[in-house]
């Protein structure tokens, strides 16, 4: 559904009415006039579903199950951020055992989501296929391997969470039932296989051709003193931001643009910023395991990495991290007792923020004395990256205007897919059009 019109070589319209291989409905429109980019709109036309409105009046306990339905690809992110926000409001600190189990199920989501994006959504761009299914005709073994890796991510979520899409075992305060040691041990052999497969993946994708394209980004990610942050931490950036997650709204703002059902986020006074694998990798590289660090050096992909197309290498390295971390967590696992902390509702307000596969997912809730939600605010990763995606497209089309129109359109789509945008999340939200005219 792509259409690029050319009046003459200096003017063009790039238009992709329905962006493929992203989660949700979006489109892209770029207008070029007299050899200059005049307008870029990354549109999200996913219909609004009003989660923040209908959460009002619901019990605090229901937030993880309800907010999971914002996104079928990263439900754990929503379950974890909402649980953490409620625990923050109600003054509950979960035990180390519960914390570890949360990290494990989150690793499952990272593996499933990253492998889905690396092989099924992004690699076909680099290898010149319409989809992974088309790719499978020439690279059958590769796609089989990808599916097996993805399946393992899903299995971790199934064992710990009950099922892969919208897990049922995650609640405010912990888990309804802690899995047994034996249930988790059953994952170990496949994780060991997946460790090798993840290393092969890093070496494979590092060999792809990347367009020359370096940007000057402000990266924002969680940071934790003792681990590569996933489930908790302070919000930091490469330009001096260092805040508690409860201070988010003092430093960030959202605006509502006419062309998008997703709100655009910006850092107050500075503008666009970048969340997701590239941000985490550049900010927290030292906290990866030695194995990922060595491999990053081997494929000469160490910080700073400022080419968003190389996000595919970082996702592969993070997949390896999540596999190694899962092995470590299972090795030392003892079922937490109790599996869920006791909670007493009270009038309160709390914030939570965790690292979804595609970047930070921030929640805030206000509760009354019975624990009924009075107010909810949810900022998903894609709405935070939306402004930066438009800036990338602006810079990319300016730099590569000479390319043939079909190639430029495809690469613009690819530039959007660099962010693994989840539009269902952001609408809470995408469409591509490149317009060259006199």
């Amino acid at each position: 559904m792509n259409d690029t019109k050319t009046a003459n070589s200096k003017d063009k319209i790039i238009r992709v009415d329905y962006l493929a291989r992203v989660e949700g409905e979006g489109s892209l429109y770029v207008k070029v006039k007299g050899g200059k980019v005049k307008d870029v709109e990354f549109k999200i036309f996913e219909p609004p579903r009003f989660f923040e409105a209908f959460l009002r009046g619901r019990l605090y306990k229901e937030a993880p199950d309800i907010t999971a339905r914002i996104c079928g690809i990263c439900p754990i992110a929503y379950q974890m951020s909402s649980s953490q926000a409620m625990e923050n409001a109600l003054g509950v600190k979960v035990s180390p055992g519960i914390r570890n189990l949360r990290r494990l199920i989150y690793c499952g989501e990272w593996i499933e989501s990253h492998v889905l994006h690396v092989y099924m959504l992004h690699a076909p761009d680099f290898l010149g296929y319409e989809s992974a299914i088309h790719m499978a005709k020439d690279h059958g073994e590769l796609v089989q391997k990808a599916l097996r890796m993805k399946k393992l991510g899903n299995e971790i979520m199934e064992v710990v969470g009950g099922r892969a899409v919208h897990p049922i075992n995650v609640g405010v305060g912990g888990f309804y039932r802690a899995p047994s040691k034996k249930e988790l041990q059953a994952l170990v052999d496949e994780l060991k296989w997946c460790r090798e497969a993840a290393m092969d993946t890093v070496r494979l994708v590092a060999g792809f051709n990347f367009p020359e394209f370096d940007m000057d980004y402000e990266y924002v990610a969680l940071s934790h003193p003792s681990e590569y942050a996933i489930t908790e931490g302070r919000l930091i950036s490469n330009r001096g931001l260092n805040i508690d997650v409860s201070e988010y709204e003092q430093c960030f703002e959202e605006s509502h643009e006419i062309h998008s059902h997703a709100l655009h986020s910006a850092i107050k006074g500075r503008g666009a910023y970048f969340v997701g694998p590239l941000a985490r990798f550049n900010l927290n590289f030292d906290q990866l395991h030695d194995e990922e660090k060595k491999l990053a050096e081997e494929v000469t992909c160490t910080p700073p990495v400022n080419n968003p197309f190389k996000g595919i290498i970082i996702r592969s390295l993070e997949t390896l991290y999540a596999v190694n971390e899962s092995l470590r967590l299972i090795e030392s696992y003892e079922p937490p007792e109790p599996s869920m902390m006791a909670i007493t509702p009270k009038a309160s307000r709390g914030c939570g923020c965790t690292e979804a596969p595609r970047g930070i997912c921030w929640h805030r809730y206000t509760l009354d004395d019975k624990g009924i939600i009075q107010d909810a605010k949810i900022v998903p990763p894609t709405s935070q990256n939306q402004k930066q995606i438009e800036k990338d497209l602006y810079a990319y089309v300016s730099q590569y205007m000479h390319l043939p129109k079909d190639q430029l359109t495809w690469q613009c789509e690819q530039a959007v897919r660099n962010y693994d945008p989840c539009i269902s999340c952001a609408t809470h939200f995408l469409k591509l059009e490149i317009d060259r005219e006199d």
């Binding site: 559904m1 329905y18 962006l19 493929a20 291989r21 992203v22 989660e23 949700g24 996913e46 219909p47 609004p48 579903r49 009003f50 989660f51 923040e52 409105a53 209908f54 009002r56 619901r58 019990l59 229901e62 199950d65 309800i66 339905r69 996104c71 079928g72 690809i73 439900p75 889905l116 099924m120 319409e130 989809s131 299914i133 088309h134 499978a136 059958g140 796609v143 089989q144 599916l147 993805k150 399946k151 899903n154 009950g162 099922r163 892969a164 899409v165 919208h166 049922i168 075992n169 888990f175 309804y176 039932r177 509502h256 006419i258 059902h261 709100l263 789509e413 989840c422 269902s424 809470h428």
Partner: protein, 258 residues
């Protein structure tokens, strides 16, 4: 031997979370076999290639919430021999149908600074309210097993074999102790259609109704039981008002306790 044209499958999305169509990509062991047996003609989440209709089978995810989508579904119906709705959004309106119990205009300013930019309908409605549906797969999300069974059956020209009994049956089969009887926990198993495999009770949690009301479910009796065990009316309303809130049996029961 004559070569047969591969049947064409299309996947369509309306207001939803993408989780049900992701379930197709989650069929890791079967995906390449399915892709070999059929022509995946339209599946934008997975592919930029688009093959024009008509389609032999269309899988439709999501509910109707905009005037544009209310039009779009009619074209999809015209282009599809068999139309299957997948998931609670498509079969019952989804969690976003909570708006149906209030005025959606009150929702818009809660989320959006400029309400004028937002186009939305007052109600989130299932696909069957707009066009004829040949078959539905319940669940929030749908079950992988049921999806594969439906695709195989429809391509073979038979009716998919899916249960219409309650979650309780699945619980008994997997030998899970009844949480409602043994521990007095609220559980929607008796009124909810089977299909998930009774996951929640096996994790020591009452069923919360992802698959929607089973045929001729007695929701009133369940509320009565809950009430006799001290549950307040507004809590009963919340239990029936989640992902299948606008499915008839659950909607009527929640309205009875408002």
């Amino acid at each position: 031997m004559a070569t047969h044209r591969k049947p064409k499958l299309a996947v369509w999305k309306f207001a939803s979370c993408d989780g049900c169509q992701l379930t197709l990509l989650d069929c890791e062991d079967e995906l390449l076999a399915v892709a070999g047996a059929i022509d995946i003609a339209n599946f934008p989440e997975a592919s930029r290639a688009v093959v024009k209709g008509p389609y032999d089978v269309s899988l439709v995810e999501g509910s109707i919430t905009t005037a544009h989508d209310a039009e779009r579904i009619h074209q999809i119906r015209r282009d599809s021999k068999i139309l299957v709705t997948i998931g609670a959004c498509a079969t019952a309106g989804g969690i976003q149908a909570l708006r149906n119990f209030t005025d959606v205009k009150s929702y818009i300013p809660v989320v959006y600074a400029k309400p004028d930019y937002i186009e939305t309908l007052n109600k989130s409605t299932p696909i069957a309210d707009h066009v004829a549906v040949d078959f539905e797969l319940r669940g929030c999300p749908i079950s992988k097993k049921q999806l594969i069974e439906a695709i195989i059956a429809l391509l073979a020209g038979r009716k998919p074999r899916l249960p219409n009994y309650s979650v309780c049956m699945e619980c008994k089969r997997r030998d899970t102790t009844c949480l409602a009887v043994a521990e007095g926990l609220p559980c929607m198993g008796p009124v909810t259609q089977a299909g998930c495999g009774a996951i929640c009770p096996s994790y020591h949690r009452g069923c919360f109704g992802c698959f929607g009301p089973k045929e001729s479910s007695n929701a009133e009796s369940l509320s009565h039981w809950w009430k006799s065990h001290g549950m307040e009316s507004r809590e009963i309303v919340r239990w029936f008002r989640s992902f299948n809130a606008y499915a008839d049996a659950f909607r009527k029961e929640s309205e009875a306790h408002e």
